[in-house]
Symmetry: C2
Subunit: 233 residues, 2 copies
DNA sequence: CCAAAAGTGTTAAAACTACACCCATGA
DNA sequence: TCATGGGTGTAGTTTTAACACTTTTGG
């Protein structure tokens, strides 16, 4: 190490798997945001948003910058996932990518409204186009991480609007965990944890009895966590 | 992206947090392997083993190569941890590092025997020297990951010899989780999972009744896992 | 008045926790 | 024979899982 770097350097990028959840009736589904490429390789193909890491920015900053530039999304939950370094993952040259995943609720963030994001679109996780590079693998790892982490960290709330019904929350878990949950047991468990608080509001514009809206109480969660409480669904 | 890379590139390294567990009596402790640096910066200081990623090798390959070169350790459990990209983490230039953690049992791998590893040594996690760069932070993240993962993945066995007593296994969990466990409940739970099999051997050279030796049955673990079984301590 | 979803308790089974003594062995 | 850890069972408590009907509301 007398010279800092004697060898050719791999290029370094970030890629972001943005999960969105649609909590509208009927449409309830986990989605991923993809970008349509306008350059080779994979021209016209779909890929994860991402790009090169600049020498003066952190990895997190790079991920946030690319996300804002390519999709218009800002101030959303973002977490590093895994770093992918297969030698031939990019056909042009050696590129190592630090993958992130992000969570966002689809009601609050209208992607179409953003002019920078003309070629960005949401796809259901269960029905994706073929992806460029190794992006399908990255997406699979992200999906697996989400499935695992949602059970013991309260990240699921990031996918819901600020005010949500217990039915939406249960459905979110059913979609992510891919199994049915018992309504009474689910409500009992969630409410017993005391981190989901009732509001005075109820749903609007539904063709049946309107459900009460709840919200995630992060302050109480942080307080309980300090006391050794463990979130678990 | 018409040219693949318009900007200066960060350098890319791997660093490895090697955990070792000493299952001898009295000495039972979680340790970390460190390398004494012989070049600036931090000359003479202790650091994690690691080095630059070459353009023709994967990240895993780089980690295994550096581990072998600097410590002589081969064929051990190795898993990617997290990628650290703070801009000033290396005072010389921008260096992003992909951190790994490795698990090894101290009985099976005598580090001193390896001639390449003159300046490598084991330190108890509870009593470490000051570390170079951001290596203390990396180590803390690795320790946290180990603590979390050991409870729901059978990675603890990587820290024990092939044949071990239930006392050693329990003690390992006590050291990692940093709390006492009930002997009868622990044995009941472990044996009920059927992935730890009794052997016909017993301990040798102990000044009291010799305990039975057990071993981790990976085949059964894999079979049960496919059927939906979840390891949990 | 009908369709749709909201909301609500009980019981049985399983898992977890706490706890103390006798046994085998080598020194 | 003594010191050291090996090895074992039970009972009370908590947690989980299974399960169905009445209520509210808008159309």
């Amino acid at each position: 190490m007398s010279h800092a770097y004697e060898f050719a350097r791999p290029a370094l990028t970030v890629d972001i798997v943005v999960f969105g959840f649609d909590s509208e009736y009927g449409e309830e589904d986990l989605k991923v945001m993809l970008i349509q490429r306008d350059l080779a390789p994979y021209e016209g193909g779909w890929a994860l948003p991402g790009g090169f890491v600049r020498v003066e920015e952190t990895l997190d900053d790079a991920a946030r910058r690319e996300l804002a530039e390519e999709t218009g999304l800002k101030d959303i939950y973002l977490e590093q996932l895994y770093t992918f370094g297969a030698v031939e993952r990019d056909p042009r040259e050696r590129v190592v990518t630090v993958a992130y995943y992000a969570l966002v609720n689809l009601e609050g963030h209208d992607i179409q409204a953003n002019t920078d994001a003309r070629n960005a679109a949401w796809f259901p996780v269960s029905d994706l186009p073929e992806l460029a590079f190794d992006h399908q693998e990255i997406l699979d790892v992200a999906h697996e991480r989400l499935r695992g982490k949602v059970r013991y960290q309260p990240i699921g709330f990031e996918l819901l609007p600020d005010r949500f019904t217990l039915r939406q929350l249960q459905h979110l878990y059913e979609v992510i965990l891919d199994r049915e949950l018992d309504k009474r047991n689910f409500r009992k468990k969630v409410l017993a944890m005391e981190i989901v608080k009732e509001t005075k509001e109820i749903e609007k514009d539904v063709a049946h009895r309107a459900a009460r809206l709840y919200h995630f109480d992060k302050r109480t969660y942080d307080r309980l966590t300090k006391q050794g409480f463990n979130f678990e669904i």
